[in-house]
Point group: C2
Chain length 353, copies 2
C-alpha cells in the first residue's frame, strides 16, 4: 500500500483515538505529513516480511509536552540528522521508518519523516497506543537492550544517549527534551528487522486508518467507532472541570465529566499524564492503564486530545483492551498502574463493572 495525501485525515483520526489523549497533536502531525507527501510523493507502507533480516529500522517519535509540540513543528532537518547519526553509528543507512507510538501526532508524523528521508514506513509501532515515557515500548518489554537513543531538536542539536537501562534512557532523554524547549525528535531502539520480530506491534498503521475510516459516512459515528474498537462506553456527558499543568516535560492533570441524558447523576474523573491513565467513578476504577481510555466528541466520535479538553464539551468516554503484550508481567511492570505511581491494581477493562 502507498500512503497518499487523502489517507492522512483517516490516519490522523485513528491515531487520535488510539492516543488516549496523548502522543502529540494530530493536527501538527497531519500538516507535516500532507506537506511532505506533496513535496516527496506517497509513502510505501511495508511489513516486516518485506525487509531483509539485517535491514535497519529507525523508530521515530516526538518527545515533549503536547501543549508545546502543538506549537512547534519539526523541521525537515531533524529526521535527516538522526538518520545520519544512525548511519554513522551502525555503518549503514536505515531502510525503513517506524512510528515508536501509533497514538496521536506521533502516529501520523512518521509519514512525513519517511517521506523526507525517502524511506518506506513499517506497518507497526512500539506501543499500539501512546504512552508518556520513552521506556514504555514493546521493544523494552521484549527485552531488547535500551542501549541507544538519538535525539535532535529544532535548533539543530543532536544528542546520542547510551543508557544503562530503560529508566535512565527516559530520565536522560527527558532532561535533554526539557533543555531543548520541551520538544525534540527521537530515535529509540534502532533495530534490525530480525530483532523486530515479536518486539514490535504489527499492523497498527493499517489499524489506525481503519479506526479513522470507521466514523466516515455513517449516521452513527459513535456506535461505529465503538464497534471497530470493541470498546465499552464509560459515560456520556459534559466536561465540567479540567485541570492541567506542564511540568518536567509532561502535562499532568485531571478531567471531570458529568453524565447527561441516561447518565445524568453520574460523574467520571480521568487522571492524566499526557495520556488518560485512570477513569474513576465514585472512587471505583472503571478502566486503568495500560488499557485504552479515550474521550471523544459525542456527536462526531472524533477524539479529544488532552490539550484540547475544554469546559462544557459534550463528550463520551470509551475504554477498550490494550495489546496482550501490556498485560504480561513485564508489560504491567513497564506501563501498569504502579509505573505511574498509582497504588491501584490492574484489572482488565472487560472485567470491570
Amino acid at each position: 500500500m502507498l500512503i497518499k495525501e487523502d489517507d492522512i485525515p483517516a490516519l490522523a483520526r485513528g491515531c487520535a483515538v488510539l492516543g488516549t489523549g496523548g502522543g502529540g497533536d494530530v493536527r501538527t502531525g497531519s500538516l507535516a505529513a500532507r506537506r511532505a507527501i506533496q513535496a516527496h510523493g506517497g509513502v510505501p507502507l511495508i511489513t516486516l516480511a518485506d525487509l531483509p533480516e539485517d535491514a535497519l529500522i529507525l523508530p521515530l517519535s516526538g518527545i515533549g509536552a503536547p501543549t508545546v509540540s502543538h506549537e512547534m513543528i519539526h523541521s525537515e532537518d531533524e529526521p535527516k540528522r538522526i538518520a545520519e547519526e544512525a548511519e554513522r553509528i551502525f555503518g549503514r543507512a536505515p531502510a525503513a521508518v517506524m512510528s515508536s507510538e501509533i497514538g496521536g501526532g506521533n502516529g501520523v508524523a512518521p509519514v512525513a519523516w519517511a517521506a523526507q528521508l525517502g524511506l518506506p514506513l513499517l506497518d507497526a509501532d512500539g506501543m499500539g497506543r501512546a504512552f508518556p515515557e520513552v521506556q514504555m515500548v514493546s521493544m523494552y518489554v521484549a527485552g531488547l537492550p535500551a542501549d541507544l537513543v538519538i535525539m535532535s531538536d529544532v535548533a539543530g542539536n543532536v544528542v546520542t544517549i547510551r543508557p544503562v537501562d530503560g529508566l535512565w534512557s527516559e530520565r536522560l532523554a527527558r532532561a535533554v527534551c526539557v533543555a531543548a524547549g520541551s520538544s525534540a525528535l527521537m530515535a529509540d531502539y534502532v533495530l534490525t528487522a530480525a530483532q523486530a520480530r515479536g518486539a514490535v506491534i504489527e499492523g497498527t498503521v493499517t489499524r489506525a486508518i481503519a479506526v479513522g475510516r470507521s466514523t466516515e459516512q455513517t449516521a452513527d459515528p459513535l456506535g461505529a467507532l465503538q464497534d471497530e474498537l470493541g470498546a465499552r462506553r464509560l459515560i456520556t456527558g459534559k466536561l465540567t472541570d479540567v485541570e492541567r499543568r506542564t511540568s518536567g516535560g509532561f502535562v499532568r492533570g485531571s478531567a471531570v465529566i458529568e453524565g447527561t441524558g441516561a447518565d445524568r447523576g453520574r460523574t467520571l474523573t480521568l487522571e492524566l499524564q499526557n495520556e488518560n491513565l485512570v477513569a474513576l467513578e465514585d472512587g471505583r476504577v472503571r478502566a486503568i492503564v495500560p488499557d485504552l481510555i479515550t474521550v471523544v466528541d459525542t456527536e462526531t466520535a472524533i477524539a479529544v486530545q488532552t490539550e484540547s479538553l475544554r469546559y462544557g464539551q459534550r463528550v463520551t468516554v470509551l475504554a477498550w483492551a490494550c495489546d496482550p503484550l501490556w498485560r504480561t508481567v513485564k508489560g504491567l511492570e513497564t506501563a501498569g498502574p504502579a509505573a505511574f505511581g498509582y497504588d491501584l491494581d490492574y484489572v482488565p477493562v472487560e472485567e470491570l463493572a
Copy 2:
C-alpha cells in the same frame, strides 16, 4: 617529567589556588590521582611538541555542583567509556588526556584518568583557571567548533552531544549532568595536536605544581604565594557571612569578609557561581572575572574552595591577572562579567585601586 604520587599534594594545592574557589573538590581529585598512580604507576607529563600532528587529545573534566562532586568519586569506568566512545567516533584511540580546567579537582583528577587509561597527560588546559560553564574554554575562544561533547556518569550512561554552538553545548550538558545526579565526567572539544596549537593554554600543569610548591618550607607562605602568582592582596580578615545554594547544577551565593588587623573597618563581598566572580568593596569592584580571585587561609596560604567557606575562618583574598586570551574581545564575551549576568565593565585587576 613523570607525575609521581608525591607530586600530587603540590599539584592539588596549586589547582585549588588556580580554581578561584571552584573546579571541583581537590581532596576528591587528589585521592583519585594517588590511588590511580599506586595502581598504574606515574603519569608522563608531555607537551604539544611531543605529539604527532594528528594525535587525538581527550580534554576531560568533571561537571557539576562542587557540593555534589565532593561526595561522588568518579569510577574507573567513566574515562574508559568516554575514551571508547571517542575511538568509535574518530576511528582511533586518544593519545593523551588533557585537563579541561586546571582549577580545583578538575586539575588534579586528570592524573587519575590518564593513569587509568594508560595515557600521558598534556601540560596544558582550556582555562588556566576554573570556570563554571562548559563553553568557557580556550578552544571556544580560539574558534574551534563546539561540535562534540561526550559525557559519562557514575551509573554508566554515556551521552554524546553534537551541539550547534557552545551555548547549546552548555545547556544540554548541564541538563544531562543534573539528570545524572549533578555530577558527570565530560570530554569537550576532543581535538588533534595540530588543532590544539594556540587553542589551549600551555604549561598550566607545571604552573599549578609550582604554585603548590611555593608555599612549602617557607616561614611566610602567604607572601611566597603572592610572589609566585604576582597577586594583589584585597583584604585580610574574617569570614562573617556565607550564603550558598545549589540550583541547576551550580552553587551560587556570596561571602563577606570583614577586615582584621591593618584592614579593620573594611568589608569585602565576593559573588560566587561555583567560582569567585566579583570582589566588591563599598560598592566598588576590586577584582572581577575573568581575573582570578582566590580565598586562602591567612596562615597556611592554602586555598579555601567555595564548598569549604565557613563562618569565622581567618582568610586573605588574593586577585591576579588571567591569561591574556581571556582579555580579548572574544574572551570577554565568553567569560567576562556580562557572560555571568553582571552589568559591570571589566577592568584589569592591576588597573583597579
